[in-house]
Each structure stands twice: as C-alpha cells, then as structure tokens.
Amino acid sequence: MKRLICLLLILSLALLVSTVSYAEDTDTDILRAADVNTDGVINILDLTLVASHFGETPAKDQSPNPDVNRDGIVNILDLTLVASHFGKTVPPPIVFVSTPLFLSVNPESTSQLDMNDTITLTFDNIPEDVKVNTGVAIVEGKTVKITGPFTQGPLALTITWTGGTQTLNYTVRPSVAFVSVDPRADTELTVNDTIIFTFDNTPDEVTVSTGVATVEGKTVKITGPFTPGPLNLTITWNDGSLTFTYTVAKPDIDAPDITSGTVSDGDKDVDPKAINSDARIEIEFSEEVSGNIALQTAAGVDIGWLGSVEGNKGILELVKGKELGNETTYVTYVIVGKVADAAGNETDIRITFTTDITYDGIPIEVSDKTFDTVVLKSDVPIVVEFYTDW
C-alpha cells in the first residue's frame, strides 16, 4: 500500500513535469521507448509497467522494457519520460523492404533452349508485379518460372518486377522429329550391328535403353553388343521418345565353308578343255561372303584370271590367252584367297587341282622317211607300234 501511494505521488509529479517541460517532444525513438507495452499509445498502462519494475535493472533486449531511457535501471527518469509523453500516440514502425535482387537463372543466359523449356530465375527476396515479354511467369516464393512454348530462333527474354528488370538472351532450338531408322524395326540384328536413327534436326539429350548412342549431326548411331533374343530399343531425345523392336540373332562364330565348286581340293585329272570352254571356275560358299580369290600355279604365280567374290560365290573368269593347259605331264593349279562372312569369320581358300594329261601327239608318228633317223639312230631303246586306224 505504501508503495502504491508512493507511485501515485510520483505519477502526479511526473504529470506536472511533463506538462511543463516535455510537451513538445516528438522524438520518435523516445515515443516508442515510452510506449512500453507497444500498444501504440502512451498511457497509464505504460506508467504502471515502469512503476511495477521500479528499481529493477532489466536486460537491454527485454520486452516489454520499462527502462525507457535505456540507462540500465528503472527509476524516476523513466517514469518522467513516460509521463512527459502521456497521451501521445506512437507512429507505426516503418518497415523497410529492399528491392528484390536477381541472383541467378537456369538455364544460363546465352544457352540453348528447347521450345518447351522452363526458365527459372532466383531472387534474394520475393519479387512483386513480375512481368515477362514472352512466355508465362509464375512466382513461387523467391523463384520465378517462365514457361513457353517459345518461338524457335533467338529469344530476348525481358523480365520486370517492382524495382528491377533483367534481359536474358537464348537461342530456342527447333523441335527435333524422328525420320527413319536403319535397319528397320521388326527385323533381325546381329549382336554387333549398328542401328542408325535419322532425325530432321540434331537431337539433344539422347539416351537409349540399351547400347551406346553416338550423335553425329542428324543421325544417332546405336552400337551394341546387343544381347541375343528380343530387343526393345527405346530412344529418348529432348523432343520425344520411341521404341523399336528387333530380334538379335545369336552371334555367328562359324567361318564360311566351301560347299561346292567347279573343282574341289585334291581333284586330279581335271579336263582343262571343259573349264576353258566355260571360261570360268566357280566356288560356292555356305553363306554370303566378301573377299578375294585368284588362280595360281603350284609355284604361286598368278595365272591372270579375274577373281571376284559375290554373294555366296567366288568366281574366276578366264582371260583370253590364259587358258588352263595340260601337257605330257600333270599341271597343278591352286585357287587361293580369303573370304569372310558378315560377322567377320574368315576362311582361307586353297584348292589344289591338277589337270589331266594330254595324249595328243603321243606317241610320235614316224613315217618311212623319218624312220631311220628317229628309230635306228635313237640313243635310247625305242619301241615302234605298227598300227592301223580301223
């Protein structure tokens, strides 16, 4: 009770002092300090707060803070300050809002965009009244997302917001459409085949479900090895995705075989006249091959026939004047070469054959006139067949 009486006395004194000395004080900081309970008006409630903490030493950041003059102790000076502004209203605090600053953009300016890309700008604060010269801007907190579709070609994107503007330059790529694929879908592949996709423009961000994709201009090459069996190949690029099905054949590890031919390895008594008449020697393989083939003597000298390999055949064509011969002894020829199938399995060719012997002019015909010279003067034993043609 005693304390309350004391307070009222002090209040009265303070009111008197305020009327006399501080009536014109409008210092905003003081007004705010005197509005101890921060209700916007300096009144008895503030005085009561100061009085109730009289003599105390509150912390500087205490709230509410009855140490109005912030000298470290609640005393008569604080009461006096409150009293001197008694009845005044305190202006609301001014909140300073800084202009949002543009921080970054993704994708970066000067890069390439797809027509349906989204450009995301980041600010240090939430931008207001955002506008763009193209696309649609959506503000999400401190980010602004600008979506297209954008028009193909150069793009100068200007974004404005309260307190700022930013221009970003891009190149909008044309949309890329699939044109063709080779080999076509639903066909058979080998394990190491290459699948070539063609687009109408250079595709970006190409991924494939299997194999390795290499972009070369408007084409994308997909290389294996692919797993034997059904293959669902999905290719995805920045503008789309397609799936093609293939069947991957088991790897071919068998070298091509020689299945037949005009002559076979080891053939003897081959009639050269028949071959010369046909003007060709053919060799047939078990599968389609590529390679080379030539006709040689046993000593390895090329006879001069024209060799070629087409499909599953090796062909040797006679060149006029290079006919196969036969003499009074066997003549050995060798067909040499190397062929490989599509899988690269190689076969060395070596077919040796010998012609038959020609008996033309054997034995030598003698006459009455040559008899003595040939027969009687022979250095070696000689047999004369006296014959007649019937």
Binding site: I364, V383, V384
Partner: protein
Amino acid sequence: MRPVVAEVALEYRETFSFVKLDVNTQREKTLEYRIRGTPTYIVFKDGEIVGGFVGAMPKAELVQRILGILEIEDPE
C-alpha cells in the same frame, strides 16, 4: 578311254621311247619289217631289233613285255 600306248609312252619316257607308224600309209617300212598284223610292236636298241610281239593287250602286260625284251626291271 585313255590310249594304253600313250600312257606307257609318257610314263616310261625316261626308260624308252615310243613311236608309231601307220601301216596303211607307210608301206615301205611295213613291208621291210614284214608286218602281218596290227598292232605289232618291235623293240629297237642301238639301231637293232631286240624283240617284238603282236596284239593289243593291257597296259601292264605291254610294259612287262617291253621291259622283258630290254631286260630292264620296272623302275615304277
């Protein structure tokens, strides 16, 4: 069918020579050597007749007869 005489002529050309004479056209030597039938084989050595025989026969027999006349073992 290969002519037997031709085969023998080729195979034994290192051992002896073989020639033939048409009895229908070469009458002088036919008469000189008194050829009565064909084929007739006469073997000469150093310009002299060392043997002969008449008739067609298989290759082996023909060889055997010639080598026998020449008293040579078959080099084959």
